[in-house]
């Protein structure tokens, strides 16, 4: 029997370079989108990793991807929805296990602020509006957002208009209190400084 050759891997290397380029362009925005939905850094990073892994696999299978940004965000979203569904099915948390987790937060103050921002955004906007706003803020075009959310481009416009209106109505006014200075408003009930 003839000896079997080693795979050259040049195609894989080419796709890997593609992944590196796309990661540089889109990873930050994808991470923020994932974080807003999951509110967990590690889970957001896992989701990001999975999206790029799936991209690599799709391209390895000679699949042509015309709009990589929309494709990556769509795959990411599908993964995130699966994760959210799975976590909602997990009714109980093993507290003993949780106590063994180290606190991975580098800067608790920043993390606290970040959590506040995400929480206030989630309270202010509907899930669809929140996703739409986040995708637009990350620079996706209406057509791309429509592809990611699987809606019509007209719906994207309506969702964005509603999101902007809600954000405007609760936006920081000049001379607002110190609790509201950096970013989105903090609901009073959530504000740790509220008397």
């Amino acid at each position: 029997m003839p000896p079997l050759p080693e795979a050259t891997g040049s195609r894989a290397e080419e796709i890997e370079r593609e992944v590196v380029r796309l990661y540089g362009e889109f990873a930050e925005g994808m991470f923020r989108y994932a974080f807003v939905l999951l509110a967990n850094r590690e889970a957001a990073q896992d989701a990001l990793q999975e999206a790029f892994l799936r991209y690599f696999m799709a391209r390895s299978g000679n699949r042509s991807i015309e709009r990589p940004r929309a494709w990556l965000f769509r795959v990411l979203r599908n993964y995130l929805l699966d994760q959210l569904k799975a976590s909602s099915q997990r009714k109980e948390v093993d507290l003993a296990q949780m106590r063994n987790y180290p606190d991975m937060r580098q800067d608790p103050e920043s993390e606290f602020r970040l959590e506040q921002i995400v929480r206030s955004l989630r309270e202010l906007l509907s899930p669809r509006e929140l996703e739409c706003f986040r995708l637009r803020a990350e620079g996706l075009r209406y057509e791309e957002i429509a592809e990611v959310l699987e809606v019509r481009p007209g719906t994207v416009g309506a969702l964005l208009a509603r999101a902007q209106k809600k954000l405007r109505q609760s936006s920081v006014k000049p001379g607002a209190s110190g609790n509201e200075q950096a970013g989105y408003p903090v609901p009073e009930s959530e504000c740790p400084y509220a008397s």
Binding site: M1, P2, L4, P5, A7, G9, A12, E16, V19, V20, Y23, G24, A27, E28, F31, R32, F35, R41, A44, Q45, L48, Q49, F52, L53, F56, M57, S60, S110, E111, R113, L114, I117, V118, R136, A137, R141, Y142, E143, P153, G154, G157, A158, L160, A161, Q164, K165, L167, R168, S171, V172, A182, G183, Y184
Partner: protein, 158 residues
């Protein structure tokens, strides 16, 4: 008729068709109310994006994020390559049971230049000619399952 807020936002974002973009542009040029609304919407959006900067600053992927992605890709690649290599080895062995090592000259290419699944796809018509469609399909299925296709003989498929 005045455009609604969603249309004005889409106009501001240059997301309308060229024709619609031009129509709204003409309307705004002659409508002080819509022109003011557009200006207000644009300022609001700028303000919202400025506020979003705080979130963007705080929320970034880990520094080793790309390394983690590439590690995952390489690990998956190694696993796939190993599976493919095993499959190919098995296909070569099993096909030579039927046709001998000269089969590769008949098929063209051969183990040195083909993926395992491609080899099997090329060999299937030949198998069909010699042992019939049903038996060939059974042999191919057995190879995929990892079983010895000679078991097909015992099972009475051929």
């Amino acid at each position: 008729m005045h455009p609604d807020t969603a249309t004005l936002l889409a106009y501001r974002d240059r997301q309308l068709s060229a024709v619609a973009q031009r129509e709204i542009q003409l309307h705004i040029a002659g409508c002080a109310r819509c022109s003011a609304a557009l200006e207000r919407l644009s300022k609001e959006w700028e303000h919202i994006l400025a506020e979003d900067a705080a979130f963007r600053r705080l929320c970034a992927p880990p520094r080793d994020g790309l390394d983690r992605v590439l590690s995952a890709i390489r690990e998956r690649g190694r696993a796939a390559s190993s599976t493919e290599s095993e499959l190919k080895q098995k296909i070569v062995e099993q096909l030579e049971v039927y046709f001998g090592s000269r089969i590769w000259a008949v098929l063209g290419g051969g183990p040195a230049s083909e993926q395992g699944t491609d080899l099997l796809a090329k060999a299937e018509p030949l198998l069909t000619t010699f042992i019939g469609r049903r038996a060939a399909a059974a042999v191919v299925a057995e190879i995929h399952k990892g079983a010895d296709p000679r078991a097909c003989l015992d099972a009475g498929v051929m």
